[in-house]
């Protein structure tokens, strides 16, 4: 692609509106606020060295994808800010931006470890625990018991 084509493409791209993408902090802070997470929650992430135990898996009925929890911009108290920052430090993978609930945050790292190439469509429409179960079944393994 020549320089001219590149410039034309860039200019054409500027003409269209791009969808607003909230920041990772906004997403995580929204979940912290909505579910009232406390400082123990980031420690749960530390304890999950590998796969989440079966006790953390929700029932089949509760495996629906929760609605979006975050506002366009998050302004939280200092305590909530510290919790959100702690979560962000522990989870560094692209699946986090599709998380909608604390359960999904817990499943974020194991899911990415098992399959880092899930497409955005599946992540947007399916609960992470459901996807994690599917990945485990595909590999013929079971989550460890508590």
């Amino acid at each position: 692609m020549g320089l001219t084509d590149q410039i034309k493409r860039e200019r054409a791209g500027k003409k269209f509106r791009r969808p607003f993408v909230p920041s990772l902090f906004t997403i995580v802070a929204g979940i912290v606020q909505r579910y009232g997470l406390d400082q123990n929650f980031p420690r749960k992430l530390d304890n999950l060295a590998g796969l989440p135990t079966t006790s953390l898996f929700p029932t089949k009925e509760s495996l629906f994808k929760p609605p979006r929890a975050h506002a366009l911009f998050a302004l939280v108290t200092e305590r909530e800010y510290r919790i959100a920052e702690a979560i962000l430090q522990r989870i560094r993978n692209p699946y986090l931006q599709f998380a909608r609930s604390p359960d999904e945050i817990l499943a974020c790292n194991p899911l990415f470890t098992l399959n880092p190439s899930l497409d955005a469509e599946r992540l947007l429409n399916h609960h992470f625990m459901y996807l994690l179960t599917q990945e485990l079944q595909r590999r013929g393994t079971q989550p460890p018991t508590a």
Binding site: S23, F25, A29, F73, A74, L75, V76, T77, E78, Y81
Partner: protein, 390 residues
């Protein structure tokens, strides 16, 4: 802000300002870190302050509103809480009732300064201009007003009662005062703010009462009977006597003042006579004292035939003064003079002429007002032709 004072949010009062918990995102966090170290707040055990930020017990607070401003505006922010405060005070004369007793009020100016100008001939035949005292006694005689009128409460009694309530309120404020530099629930702060609003209201009332009492010294001749007349007029809100009148507009100390013109006549280019009925020329005590007619009326100097039309003047910028007895008198007299003597039959000036040159320009007609020059009222002088000067 309205919901804040009913919430359990922890706030801090420091240095006359209300500090709210600082809400954070990464950029705000960056700015607080850029602000650097904090210095200790004198007299505060655990607090540190830096610019608009305050750290108390490990939590960051940001400076928001000034507490004085909050007290001043609480009536608008929390009308449900602040509105009953005046009603809870001891029985005092209301602002409307008391304004008539104050010599500085517009009502008193109208009665004591404007009225003598317009009713002089009928009050004292051949005796010159009556004084304000004469007017008050005349009103008292005509309306049979008792010596003490219910609206006329003793000023000093009211001041004493208000002072006592003020002291009690001040003591309550001291009890409710929030601890300095300590987080408290916003709901607790609200009680203290409402007491501060009450104190401000009491201060206003006291200063008003004191100024009223000081104004009383301007008319040393005024006795209880005279004050009773003013209180009567204040409660009644309207008066008409010998062609002069006024009535209250709204609930404040604002009035519409008017004078009856009586019947009069004008003549046109051909000397034909038109008899104009009585109308009321008025000015308001608010805004510029520009004269207008209160009733439906036709005249060459009025644009149409509706109510409340301003009278046409060549120099409309002359009505820019503020309220004073002179401005009211000048406005009314200017209006009456314009109606009586402003129409020049040769120039046919004004919006309309009594005898237009073409029939097409007639939007307002005056033919029905025409009377014979030998009409008994004209001949006897009961109705005067006002524009005989040319």
């Amino acid at each position: 802000m309205i919901g804040l004072l009913d919430s359990q949010l922890r706030v801090v009062v420091h240095g006359g300002f209300l500090y709210l918990p600082l809400l954070m995102d990464p950029s705000v966090k960056g700015e607080t870190e850029l602000a650097g170290g904090a210095r200790a707040v004198p007299g505060n055990a655990g607090g540190t302050e830096r610019g608009p930020l305050l750290r108390v017990r490990g939590e960051l607070y940001v400076r928001s509103l000034k507490v004085d401003g909050l007290v001043n505006c609480l009536g608008m922010l929390q009308p449900d809480d602040a509105a009953p405060i005046p009603g809870e005070l001891p029985a005092t004369p209301s602002r409307t009732a008391f304004c008539g007793v104050s010599p500085g009020s517009k009502l008193t100016t109208l009665v004591l300064e404007v009225m003598p100008h317009f009713v002089r001939r009928r009050t004292r035949e051949g005796g010159g201009r009556p004084t304000g005292k004469d007017i008050l006694e005349e009103i008292r005689r005509r309306f049979d007003i008792p010596e003490s009128f219910p609206g006329d409460t003793g000023g000093q009694t009211v001041v004493d009662a208000l002072t006592q309530v003020r002291e009690e309120t001040r003591r309550r404020i001291e009890v409710l005062r929030p601890p300095a530099d300590e987080p408290i629930a916003a709901r607790e702060l609200k009680g203290w703010l409402l007491e501060a609003v009450r104190l401000g209201f009491l201060d206003d009332e006291l200063s008003r009462m004191k100024s009223v009492m000081a104004d009383m010294g301007r008319h040393p001749w005024m006795n209880d009977g005279h004050r009773a007349v003013l209180a009567f007029l204040c409660q009644r809100g309207a008066l008409e006597m010998d062609g002069f009148g006024f009535y209250r507009h709204g609930s404040a100390d604002e009035f519409i003042v008017y004078v009856h013109t009586g019947d009069y006549a004008l003549q046109d280019f051909y000397g034909r006579v038109y008899r104009f009925p009585d109308c009321r020329v008025a000015v308001t005590t608010w805004g510029p004292p520009r004269p207008f007619v209160l009733d439906r009326y036709r005249h060459p100097f009025l644009e149409s035939d509706g109510r409340g039309q301003p009278i046409c003047f060549q120099d409309s910028g002359r009505w820019n003064g503020e309220f004073s007895a002179g401005a009211v008198i000048g406005g009314i007299e200017g209006g009456i003079n314009a109606l009586f003597h402003g129409y020049d039959r040769r120039r046919r000036n004004g919006y309309h002429s009594l005898d237009p040159l073409t029939p097409y320009e007639r939007t307002i007609r005056f033919e029905d007002l025409r009377i014979d020059r030998d009409h008994p009222d004209i001949r006897s002088g009961r109705v005067e032709i006002k524009n005989l000067f040319r």
